[in-house]
Symmetry: C2
Subunit: 118 residues, 2 copies
DNA sequence: TCCTTAGTTCAAAAGTTATTGAACAATTGG
DNA sequence: CCAATTGTTCAATAACTTTTGAACTAAGGA
């Protein structure tokens, strides 16, 4: 079973901007960008919001085409749709991430760094 | 008498993104960008919304730090805060404008091209 | 001075988004 | 099978945003 995602040409600029105009979601994107390539499950974002609320924000990001969620067992592995966003809106994601990186007012995520237990 | 504007370091990324995540405001910004350097008065945007509603959207853009409004007689002359936005969020405005340029779903503005009667 | 033009403000209504807790479903491990 | 883990859905509420019309202010021109 898989979750609904827009395809690349359906990604809309105002919707993407609107979705990124929320500090919680911006923090999620920033964290995904900092671990780019590594699929993360939802619980990695629990310092940002409650489980229910995260489900809501992650659905918004997915429906806007910003993230992709793959079902793996009971997990949803989440990645940034970097290639699709770069194709559709060149430079946008990079400038947003760079701007978010030095915005002290944004909530931070992280600490428990155990993505691949060696 | 002058209108309140945030100064450059007060411009916030989520607020800017949120403000741009509205098709009417994105169309305003796109039009300002297409006439960059030329200050435009509010009535130039009347194909996008009613006068009252424009006042609302233009205030949002101004309060977010995206535009500057200068009072000249009974007019408010509006410009993009390009230098400030570029300083604060390098590349962001350009990528948004470029993306908006080829988004057919966005409302268009223009036609009556009489900014400087020659 | 009076009229017009340009834009704002206000209050109300309508619509949308965010947040919550309780209940649910699906998978995995013991 | 049972329990735990992971995440969703639902309904309710709270909080914000958008849109509207009527009333207003302030400047400029006749």
């Amino acid at each position: 079973m898989s979750l609904p995602h827009p395809n690349t040409d359906q990604i809309s600029l105002p919707i993407v901007l609107g979705v990124l105009g929320d500090p919680t979601r911006l923090a999620i994107v920033r964290y995904l960008a900092s671990k780019e390539g590594v699929p993360l499950n939802c619980s990695r974002f629990l310092d940002l919001a409650s489980k229910t609320n995260l489900s809501y924000h992650l659905a918004k990001l997915r429906e806007a085409g910003v993230t992709r969620a793959e079902v793996v067992g009971t997990n949803r592995m989440i990645t940034l749709r970097r290639a699709d966003l770069d194709a559709r809106f060149p430079g946008l994601l990079d400038s947003v991430i760079a701007a978010a990186a030095d915005d002290a007012a944004l909530p931070a995520v992280g600490g428990h760094d155990l993505e691949v237990p060696v």
